[in-house]
């Protein structure tokens, strides 16, 4: 495992009006690392993810990707975003485009790859997420699990430096959760740098290098998955784990 810092957050603060959603967040994600973010609803996990590709701005502190501060706007920001993949809870596939077009759009329009090359790469990725045979379908014709795997392929197509997953399995029927987690586990094994907001402990134990526990906009605890799940140090983490374990 290399330990080059890839994503660095330093003293990051963010408010929504009076609500202090991110409080002095310090977090480093090294290249090739898989970090699972866990915590109660409303603790700021989504906001944390969204600040990393600047879908949300921050009030103070600094976020760096590959030693570069995030650009504020314009082309530079678009380029940054193409380096940071994002997979959403609600898939967010482009409804008027086929599966293949969903995956080739970014490479063709942002990276300016020729169509042939983009399509060949897209087909490889769709095979990798085991959905190559659905390339000509529209999103509405696929199950949730299939749509989420397409969304992962769409993110991968940009060859991002890091991929952010915001509760990628929370909107899925239970029987489809595993197929998505399997794809994510494969990615982790292949050395993709990943920040994953999830409550799937099986995945965290299998694939994560580190678990970050958030509550009320703060990082309360950071540990290896095994340590965190068997021996949570903070009271809030103990409390939270006891709640999700009894579910």
């Amino acid at each position: 495992m290399t330990s080059t810092p890839l994503v660095v957050l330093e003293n990051v603060n963010k408010h929504f009006g009076d609500l202090h959603v991110l409080r002095d967040i310090n977090l480093t994600v090294n290249s090739g690392e898989v970090v699972v973010v866990i915590g109660p609803s409303g603790s700021g996990k989504s906001t944390l993810c969204r600040t990393i590709n600047r879908l949300e701005t921050i009030d103070s502190g600094e976020i760096r990707l590959d030693d570069q501060p995030l650009p504020a706007e314009g082309r530079a920001l678009a380029r940054l975003r193409s380096d940071v993949g994002m997979v959403f809870q609600s898939f967010n596939l482009f409804a008027h485009k086929t599966v293949l077009q969903n995956v080739t759009l970014g490479p063709m329009k942002v990276l300016r790859k020729p169509r042939g090359e983009a399509e060949a790469h897209a087909m490889e990725l769709l095979d990798r997420v085991r959905i190559g045979n659905q390339a000509q379908k529209y999103p509405a014709q696929l199950s949730g699990g299939q749509q989420q795997r397409v969304a992962i392929a769409r993110a991968l197509a940009m060859s991002p430096k890091v991929i952010l997953f915001d509760e990628p399995t929370s909107a899925l029927d239970p029987e489809m959760v595993q197929e998505v987690l399997d794809v994510m586990t494969d990615l982790a094994k292949d050395g993709m740098t990943m920040v994953v907001v999830t409550h799937e402990m099986g995945f965290a134990r299998r694939a994560a290098n580190r678990v970050v526990f958030m509550a009320d906009g703060e990082i309360v605890e950071e540990n290896t998955p095994d340590e965190f799940f068997t021996n949570p140090r903070s009271e809030r983490a103990q409390d939270f784990l006891s709640k999700i374990l009894t579910h």
Binding site: N53, L55, R75, A78, R79, L80, R81, S82, V84, G85, M86, F88, S90, F91, N92, L93, F94, A95, H96, L105, G106, K109, V110, Y138, A140, Q141, A151, R154, M158
Partner: protein
């Protein structure tokens, strides 16, 4: 009826101008409508403000006033003109007035279509690195258009009928309603059959539009 039919070439000529006014105004108001919508949703406050002011201003002005302003104000009083012949000149001023007016309704329709697009898709496009204009062009507008094909059809039908206001407002384009009025004035056509004939003429133009747009909106609907 015979008297009406014996003047049929004038009727056809009138409607040919109606069609020309409609098609050109439709084209320009579509382009201008998209532009106004893009400005309306842009991150630049000045552009948003301009678009809002324009749409609210023109949309709430009677079409007659808009066309009078083009004809009396810009063309006659300020002497702005497109061509040496009056006929061509008034035609283009009518197209401009109709486009300026209709584009507001195109824009309002489109905007309601944009509001139906899940924000998540826009964020997904943004997170791929698409710029604001790429996002509009490739994700937002294509889907918004599909959801408002029906309403846009109604706008086109209204535009077709609105072409008759041009001559009332002093822009003497020889479109159907003006031809009709001229035929009355010259006493060469009996009133009732002529009225009915021209009304049917408009029906022949607009009824298929309604059906076509209804069919098209089903055809291009995006399943979510």
């Amino acid at each position: 009826m015979e008297a009406f039919l014996s003047n049929i070439d004038r009727v056809v000529d009138g409607f040919s101008w109606t069609v020309r006014l409609t098609l050109l105004s439709a084209l320009f108001s579509f382009i201008l409508g998209i532009l106004l919508t893009a400005m309306r949703v842009s991150p630049v406050p000045l552009l948003r403000g301009l678009s809002t002011a324009y749409v609210e201003g023109i949309r709430n002005t009677p079409l007659t006033l808009v066309l009078l302003f083009c004809g009396l104000g810009l063309n006659s009083a300020l002497g702005l003109s497109f061509a040496d012949t009056v006929a061509t000149d008034v035609f283009w001023w009518a197209v401009i007035g109709l486009s300026a007016y209709t584009s507001c309704f195109v824009s309002e329709s489109l905007r309601s279509g944009i509001n139906t697009i899940p924000l998540g898709q826009v964020e997904a496009a943004r997170s791929l690195g698409l710029t604001f204009t790429q996002n509009l062009r490739m994700i937002v507008i294509p889907q918004a258009l599909r959801t408002v094909v029906g309403p846009l059809g109604s706008v086109l039908i209204a535009l077709t009928k609105n072409t008759t206001v041009a001559s009332v407002a002093g822009l003497g384009v020889q479109e159907a309603s003006r031809q009709m009025k001229l035929m009355f004035d010259q006493g060469i056509a009996p009133v009732l059959p002529t009225f009915v004939g021209f009304a049917i003429g408009f029906l022949i133009l607009t009824l298929p539009m309604g059906y076509f747009f209804g069919w098209l909106s089903k055809r291009v609907a995006v399943v979510r």
